[in-house]
């Protein structure tokens, strides 16, 4: 594996390898609970907590965990942190906990978290693992906030519950409904792709799809 600097470990997950927008991990929460900035933030923070906690624990205990049972152990660790987060949220912010519902528990099966354990935390020193977790977690929060703002702004005319367009704004109800989630993420990814395409040197327009040349050469 290529050696990486501390800075890379931290920044990688925030933008260049953003878990949601680039790697398409953790789509379930990114779509299900981003109908308002508030929910998105709560979900992001809860996931952040679980990710950092389990990365810390996994990288600390990596020598003690036998290879054969590592996945089960990771899941166990993650589930523990999720349960803790679930109960804490319910005690501290019960309204938000009610809005997020079952999706807090479903952080357990967020492939992003398990993926970081398997790919990074189980192989690196504690400090690096924590940096990586913080970066990825912040990237996740950013993506969720983007989605949340877009959907709340269009779907409710407000941000964090503060109305921006005045009372006669006609909300696009669809944006806080499930289809709006798909469309918002789709539009975000299209926009990102479009920006990247404009930055990148213009590629040759191809009449035939790629791979034709390979086929013929083969």
């Amino acid at each position: 594996m290529r050696e990486t600097t501390r800075q890379e470990d931290l920044l990688r997950g925030i933008w260049r390898e953003n878990p949601v927008l680039i790697q398409l991990l953790g789509l379930c929460p990114a779509l299900a609970v981003t109908n308002s900035v508030e929910n998105a933030l709560a979900m992001g923070l809860a996931t952040f907590f679980v990710l950092c906690g389990s990365s810390l624990l996994v990288s600390t205990l990596k020598k003690l965990i036998p290879h054969e049972v590592r996945i089960s152990t990771y899941i166990l660790i993650i589930a523990t942190f999720v349960t803790v987060a679930d109960m804490t949220l319910e005690a501290v912010v019960p309204e938000i906990h009610k809005a997020l519902g079952a999706f807090i528990a479903l952080i357990v099966v967020n492939c992003m978290i398990l993926g970081r354990q398997e790919a990074f935390a189980s192989k690196r020193p504690v400090g690096r693992a924590l940096l990586d977790a913080v970066g990825t977690g912040v990237g996740f929060i950013i993506a969720l906030l983007l989605m949340g703002s877009l959907r709340e702004l269009l779907g409710n005319g407000s941000l964090l519950g503060i109305s921006l367009f005045g009372p006669s704004y006609e909300p696009w109800v669809v944006m806080i409904l499930p289809p709006g989630g798909f469309f918002a993420l789709g539009a975000l990814i299209l926009a990102l792709g479009w920006i990247q395409q404009r930055r990148a040197p213009r590629s040759q327009p191809q009449e035939w799809p790629e791979g034709v040349a390979d086929r013929e050469a083969a």
Binding site: T73, V84, A91
Partner: protein
């Protein structure tokens, strides 16, 4: 990775089991500790929410008590050896004169999108509703969720005669049993009326039996 795997020494089975067991115990312990510390807050909040809902639909009674539905009868306390957890319940509110002012009944049935969960107060003597509050719904924002947020719609249930009848909005009838449905959210409005009527159908005989036995 594959190279690393092949040189990895064989780990004895007992170590795997011990690790898992240890992890399980540690995880369980951690969860129990957090549970112990958060549980009181959570329970207090839940109780508070319930108290508010009941008080709201019963129009602020002096006090209320919980009745359990056990073997087709309403009882105030559960007999020995029976778990109270799984039992359906309703709440009876008392006025200043210690007279029962009404019953708060919770019910849930499918609405337009998914299950609608609500609670309503029922004055058994007058056969009228005292109030209604939607506890949980996923109805269309801006339209179906008016059953929860539209004050005019909600206020119609205060003092409505039972059984409820839904009529098209804007008719302006004085009949106390008629509920003006929300324009454009007829299905959600009808669901609320249906849920209350069905719940009454189930509960009224129980309440009547309880009154009779007094």
């Amino acid at each position: 990775m594959n190279g690393a795997l092949s040189v990895r020494p064989e780990v004895p089975a007992w170590r795997l089991i011990t690790t898992m067991a240890l992890a399980g115990v540690l995880a369980g312990a951690l969860i129990v500790i957090v549970h112990q510390s958060t549980q009181p807050t959570i329970l207090r909040y839940k109780a508070e929410m319930l108290r508010r809902a009941v008080n709201q639909v019963l129009k602020q009674p002096e006090r209320y008590e919980t009745l359990y539905i056990y073997r087709g009868a309403l009882i105030a306390s559960v007999p020995e050896g029976v778990q109270s957890k799984g039992l359906d319940r309703l709440y009876v509110g008392y006025g200043a004169d210690d007279q029962a002012v009404g019953f708060a009944i919770a019910a849930a049935e499918p609405g337009f999108q998914d299950i609608v969960r609500l609670i309503f107060g029922y004055d058994a003597m007058a056969g009228r509703l005292l109030g209604m509050k939607v506890l949980e719904s996923k109805e269309t924002p801006g339209l179906g969720d008016k059953i929860e947020k539209d004050a005019v719609f909600v206020s119609q249930f205060d003092g409505a005669a039972t059984p409820l009848v839904g009529v098209k909005g804007g008719r302006g009838s004085d009949d106390p049993g008629e509920i003006d449905m929300i324009t454009g959210a007829t299905i959600s409005s009808r669901a609320v009326i249906r849920i209350i009527n069905n719940a009454l159908e189930r509960s009224v005989p129980l309440i009547a039996a309880r009154e009779a036995s007094r």
